[in-house]
Symmetry: C2
């Protein structure tokens, strides 16, 4: 029903994960709008919209005519932001949901690794 996460948000996550996983580090050049678009089978403007989100957060610096670069301290900042967002917004809901259906975090840890 709701497979409908917008493409530009999926692209944002794809990039964010690549950064968090260390594929791109501070100062690295990100794929160009057009190349990443063709690589992902998306429209360049949709990619630009995803990149815009990084700019809004100050995670990339634009060198017009050259490309987009991971800003200084962006990796750390992105990770910190994601952690804070998880603790403040995501986990409370997940925790509530778990309590409601009677699953504890301890239960889940047993069936891991």
């Amino acid at each position: 029903m709701n497979n409908r996460q917008p493409v530009y948000l999926k692209l944002f996550e794809t990039i964010a994960h690549a950064i968090l996983d260390g594929k791109y580090q501070d100062g690295d050049l990100l794929p160009s709008v057009r190349s990443f678009a063709s690589e992902q089978g998306a429209n360049p403007l949709t990619v630009a919209k995803a990149y815009q989100l990084f700019q809004d957060r100050g995670l990339v610096t634009v060198r017009r005519g050259v490309g987009l670069f991971v800003a200084d301290g962006a990796v750390q900042k992105l990770k910190a932001d994601e952690r804070q967002n998880f603790i403040d917004n995501i986990w409370p809901d997940v925790d509530k949901h778990m309590r409601r259906i009677g699953i504890s975090a301890a239960d889940l840890m047993k069936s891991e690794t």
Copy 2:
């Protein structure tokens, strides 16, 4: 991040939570489409759409002209469905996200009551 959750899904969750919390039990009459709509400040058809999801899952029985009733075994079935959905769909994503940002389930359990 997602304020974009449709109203009818929020309403579905509201009802589901009420059932899981024991407010409505097997055989109980659910609020009518119109009364629940005015109570929630929503459109009756949006409420109907939420109720439709329960019908699709066989969780309610319809008595046209009378109302919607919680089906026999619905409470148990809903709980089982929610658990399965959590384990299959929700938790894997949450777990992946946690690993990526370096938070373990053990970390979260420390800061809980």
